[in-house]
Symmetry: D2
Subunit: 270 residues, 4 copies
């Protein structure tokens, strides 16, 4: 099976990249499943139902979020009825929405997606490691599900890499999001799980992590600053591509994908 995970979509520039390129990538890469992190798609802050629908229309199967999940308050009204939109698993009991789900694919295979938040340098939350481990005990790769993605939305590289190693052999891919910068460490870990510390954002890299650069620079050098708005230059679509073994669900191949914009382009050689 082949699937693609696209990192934090940043505003209009990032949405444009998703809407224009996903249909073609489904073709050229022979994708069976596409997941997108949408937490910054609504002008940098959150996501709306309209954006979700636009993403589904071009072939996105599942949308993850992160700490910006609730920036657009309307999400709370529909997330309970929309299993294709995930929020972090380790939010407190009673939080709307869900943190993982098993999706039936067109060919009846099952794909598992979960998202957790890291805790280093972030808000206090329950332990994502043991929580994920308990969930995965009931969704065994190669037995209950054919493919499995875990997104760790986190600040610290140490926490993300620890999660990759902790889950190695139990899911197809552990990938990080939230830093908005793609890492160059795609690898298959010793027990067969593909891993990349951060997928990177889909957005304009002539910016400060996707935001028009003057205001963030002000924030680091002055006490008073303006409002953050997404940079509007052409986006680089940043994603991770995985091909799994049909039997085990583990990774046979992992490759970064970077298309358009300012970054050095790369696509998997199939």
């Amino acid at each position: 099976m082949r699937f693609l995970y696209c990192g934090d979509v940043m505003g209009r520039s990032g949405r444009k990249a998703i809407l224009e390129q996903i249909p073609q990538l489904r073709e050229t890469l022979g994708l069976d499943f596409v997941i997108v992190n949408g937490e910054n798609s609504a002008h940098g802050f959150g996501i709306t139902r309209k954006i979700c629908d636009a993403f589904y229309d071009v072939g996105v199967d599942v949308i993850t979020t992160g700490n910006h999940a609730w920036d657009q308050r309307e999400v709370m009204n529909f997330i309970d009825d929309e299993p294709r939109l995930l929020r972090p698993l380790n939010y407190p009991e009673g939080t709307p929405g869900r943190g993982f789900h098993v999706y039936e694919m067109k060919d009846n295979r099952r794909f598992f997606v979960a998202q957790v938040m890291g805790r280093l340098f972030m808000d206090p939350l329950d332990d994502p490691f043991t929580m994920l481990s308990a969930v995965l005990d009931k969704h065994v790769l190669g037995r209950d599900v054919h493919g499995a993605l875990v997104d760790i939305h986190a600040e610290a590289t140490s926490e993300k890499m620890a999660m990759g190693q902790y889950l190695d052999g139990r899911v197809s891919l552990v990938a990080g999001t939230h830093s908005h910068i793609p890492t160059a460490d795609a690898q298959i870990l010793p027990n067969g799980t593909a891993y990349q510390t951060d997928v990177g954002m889909c957005g304009d890299y002539d910016s400060v992590i996707g935001m028009e650069k003057s205001v963030p620079i002000e924030r680091f050098t002055k006490k008073i600053s303006g409002r953050l708005t997404p940079a509007e230059g052409p986006a680089t679509l940043c994603a991770v591509f995985v091909e799994t073994d049909d039997e085990t669900g583990l990774a046979k191949m992992v490759s970064p994908v970077r298309l358009g914009g300012r970054l050095i382009e790369i696509t998997p050689t199939l």
Copy 2:
């Protein structure tokens, strides 16, 4: 001019990569200047005079450090007399050592290196932005110095990228260290400064940011854990290569370098 900046050297495995590969890289890449981040070279914690000397012997010109600068106390005894070993610039007045220096190259050109610490999610320190700006006012690229590297040793991608944009046009390269994971965002910014959010470590990537993986996993899941030790598998040497314009000192080309170990290899095509 061509120069190379190698990221945090992690323990024995990382040192081996530097000692074995720098002589050859100087040749094949035609390097004029080589800088290495050595803050984790002594079994993961700090650096010793012996390690410094071994690095100089194979062609390293300057060694940077970071928050681990003082882990080996002997450093305090010799850093004042060793301009080739830098510590962060924005440490309090009275801290031993220096945070920047201008190096005379063999052909009489001058190369500027500075290191600052970021402040987001890190210890309280003085503002690295305005401090660097004041220093650079006196060391103008293309007038006073022929090449210039600024290392921002920081946790947050936003702070690193803001520094890149803030200094764009004033130095040859702004590169981050400390996260121990190379980023895939090498680019030349609009005003001619090369930039990469993190150089990545020189170390074993079957690990948690270079440490043998069992103890870091314990630290994220238990309250009591063992001692961190560097992973001992083969290192990937991670670096950033820059070729500058002889006139301006700005970047004509930037490329990541990744050699050996588990990561996808890349070297500049010259």
Copy 3:
């Protein structure tokens, strides 16, 4: 000389306490100078010119602020022309307003007030210790000024107490604000500076640090919560009273003041 420093005034309830009690306290305590922290006086967030004027009218001489200084944007328009309203000293160069000032009293004596922000668990800022030390070199207690208050607006008790000890002998009082809870550690340090870790707020203590309690509880237990508003019950006015030696400006006596509301009342026995 006798002066009083009142802690963070929280919303309407806190303002009421100040407006009603300061005139009388000036009398009964024989106060020569009154300083109030006003950073939460405008419905919990910032301060307005109208509130400043109301405070001056009842006998407040100087108003300090803190991290909430700019919550009401109008402050930026008048703070440059209003030396009686201070913001933290260690904000970046170019920040409107001032961080310290020397006030001419009616009897021609001079009173020094400075405010700094702590850095532990707070935003990155320049070092408040060395910055204050440099300022105090030019405003020597007993020579240039007759009384001196330093407010350290900070989270960590360690940083506040270190500041007290660091400045011991150089000012009349070091007092902390920001935690909104009065501490019971008023003392005169060995070299003559009065000290209290936190003055406490002027607000309703049937609350969570002055805010109506249901929303803060939600914030600690749920992911989604409402808007913070000040609790509206009767305030306890919390302050520190100091009597100085006329010769040296050092403290002869220090006492907490707590009046009204739910806390155990205390006033200095003169």
Copy 4:
């Protein structure tokens, strides 16, 4: 019932205060139960079995700890067999020791003690609020237990006060520790729970939170500093006294206790 909770005992000076004063306080205050926070009793870092035994000998019934629980490694060897020594409840599953316990008193009444860690500005841990709530569902005050103390070992006043309000009516006393500075906000909350944001330390207040002051000052002003050691002057014993209603277990009276050393003394008027 009357009980006393003494805050963080700091090194030799703090131990001396406990050993000398507890026997007498049991008498004069007519105490039925005494709890002491011992996390800093072993030269500032952790506690030993020998210190525990010395405390039991003078009439301490239960010892709580905090983030310094494991500083003396020997604790791990005996804490599982010593219910009188508690560690924070919200440590990960598998951590040695226990976070709460019900103690049989000499007169067969039962006393409940629990300790949790806060999460603001502290290490990532599971939610102390919901965890305590679940425990208290099984230990109902006035039905299952006659008295109940919850210690919230935390940095932020907001988190401590939110815990007090959250548990109001379900325990006899919510008291904070860890800041090492007593707060002056003892009160009985609307539903009958006594509350004080921080008990304060038992230690020398001519210090920086109990440590000899020169090194902490260095830590705030320099990059390199010496080793922390407890200040050795006379301690102030800081505690909270509560008298409960025999029927309900709720508080009839709460009072701070401060004895000896530099702080203003206070004892309950009975």
